[in-house]
């Protein structure tokens, strides 16, 4: 079995368009949530959203590459470009070596709706143009990035609701661990436009605390009233230790555990038992006791039911170990298909710079969150091991565990 290490990370999100900006936002507890009047005019109950600036890729990509990219593909291109640079991967290397891609994505609504609108109006399918079909397929991110970066290994998209990005990394980990691949671009992407989240808003799942957008996302807090949709993209480059060391790549950490489960229950209501199984599976694979985990990046999205279930699951598994816990969704909102990957990036930055980012807006616990060690303010702390939870509709659960890289663990 191969050891699997992280050699590059990249991010494009509502709290920063690159790692440096995001690191500062995490440390300072900066929220990326705004009130979007377009959503209100469109009929949303809640106009709250993470604000993600639309990139301008002219000059970075040729026309052919640009017209096949939807918004989340643009985000993913920038996140992957940053991760490639940090991993010291140039196009020449990726062209000469087998390099794969497994990315999480579970919708591309804006591109679909815009294409259908044109067909309805013009009564001629050809007038959607040649880029449309490549924007509208769920695998749009992987098909575009594999083409742009000339990746010739495994190539597919993982669709697993709000655990998509986490499962993508988990699958990449297994492909490398078992020797099927040496290097894989993993990650998750999430579109942000108002077309993409209207039917989610319909479920009354979003916070309506519109008077103070930056205080609306309050995971684990007693007065939370729903999640806030957000988006962007995050890339995590995984390599076998042999591949990474062979080319002298920087190593950010080692993936040592991936646990997964399905609740087999309600389509949207969470359970405690499902996440508990994913958590225990990841710990068992990592060979760790609960008290050996220094930090948990919780899935907690700020919904009343979801946060309580996760709090109970964490208490059941970690009990008296009481590791530091925060939900970075308090700052980012819920980055959905991207979240499982972005929260690995956020946690990796904390691990590198020895701090725990705060769970902002956590002011008053409820009976479940009171049993956890939730971090309210930025905390200086060495993180040797972190764990990240991601759960999604349909009861899909994913837990990843990453250990800090140092010379001792390399032996």
């Amino acid at each position: 079995m191969n050891r699997v290490v992280i050699t590059g990370i990249g991010i494009y999100s509502c709290i920063g368009k690159n790692l440096d900006e995001v690191r500062d936002s995490l440390y300072e507890g900066h929220s990326g949530i705004v009130l979007d009047p377009v959503r209100k005019a469109f009929g949303y109950r809640s106009g709250l959203t993470g604000y993600v600036e639309k990139p301008n890729l002219k000059g970075m990509l040729d026309r052919r590459a640009r017209i096949t990219l939807p918004d989340q593909g643009e985000y993913a291109f920038l996140a992957t470009t940053e991760a490639m640079r940090l991993a010291r991967l140039d196009p020449d290397w990726t062209e000469k070596h087998i390099f794969g891609i497994i990315y999480g994505n579970d919708s591309t609504a804006k591109s679909v709706i815009e294409a259908i609108d044109i067909m309805r109006e013009k009564k001629d399918t050809m007038l959607v143009g040649s880029g449309s079909v490549f924007q509208t397929m769920n695998s749009t991110v992987t098909m575009n990035l594999a083409t742009i970066f000339k990746l010739r290994g495994i190539n597919f998209t993982v669709s697993a609701a709000c655990a998509s990005g986490s499962h993508a990394i988990g699958l990449g980990y297994h492909f490398i661990k078992t020797g099927l691949e040496a290097s894989i671009v993993c990650g998750g992407a999430q579109e942000t436009g108002h077309y993409s989240m209207g039917n989610f808003d319909a479920l009354s799942a979003f916070s309506t605390h519109e008077s103070e957008p930056t205080k609306a996302s309050r995971p684990f807090d007693r007065h939370r009233d729903g999640l806030i949709p957000s988006g962007g993209a995050a890339t995590v480059i995984l390599e076998s230790l042999e591949s990474a060391q062979g080319r002298g790549a920087p190593i950010w950490g080692e993936v040592i555990g991936y646990g997964f489960s399905s609740n087999g229950a309600h389509i949207s209501n969470p359970t405690v038992e499902g996440p508990v199984r994913a958590l225990r599976m990841a710990l068992q694979e990592a060979g760790l006791r609960p008290d050996e985990v220094d930090y948990i990046n919780a899935h907690a999205t700020s919904t009343p039911a979801g946060d309580s279930s996760e709090a109970r699951a964490l208490d059941e598994v970690f009990g008296s170990a009481r590791p530091c816990i925060s939900s970075t969704k308090s700052m980012t909102g819920h980055e959905c298909w991207m979240a499982g990957a972005s929260e690995i990036v956020y946690s990796a930055l904390m691990m590198r710079d020895s701090f725990v980012a705060p769970n902002i807006n956590f002011e008053e616990p409820d009976e479940d969150s009171a049993r956890l060690n939730i971090i309210k303010k930025s905390l200086g702390k060495d993180i040797n091991v972190f764990l990240s939870n991601s759960f999604g509709f349909g009861g899909t659960n994913s837990t990843l565990i990453v250990r800090k890289w140092d010379k001792l663990t390399a032996l």
Partner: protein
């Protein structure tokens, strides 16, 4: 009725914008496909920009006999005039 030069100027303008080519490379004698670096997918976008800017629909197979920009102008200009007369 617009004169041919005005129509050609308009055509060149949207081809430069859509296909991101240097304006100086577009001459009546130049090869349309190689100058605009058109592949099979790009002809679909040529149909789109003609409909968008000139208001009539083109069949992709109509492009088969078009080699130079002059051929392209010769194809487009009568259709612009026909549209104006309708």
């Amino acid at each position: 009725m617009k004169n041919a030069d005005a129509i050609i100027e308009r055509i060149n303008g949207f081809l430069v914008e859509e296909f991101e080519v240097e304006p100086s490379r577009i001459t009546p004698e130049a090869n349309l496909k190689t100058t605009l670096e058109l592949d099979s997918l790009d002809y679909i976008d040529l149909v789109v920009v003609i409909e968008s800017h000139l208001g009539f629909k083109v069949k992709p197979e109509d492009f088969q006999g078009i080699v130079s920009f002059q051929d392209f102008y010769n194809y487009v200009i009568p259709r612009v005039h026909t549209k104006e007369l309708v």
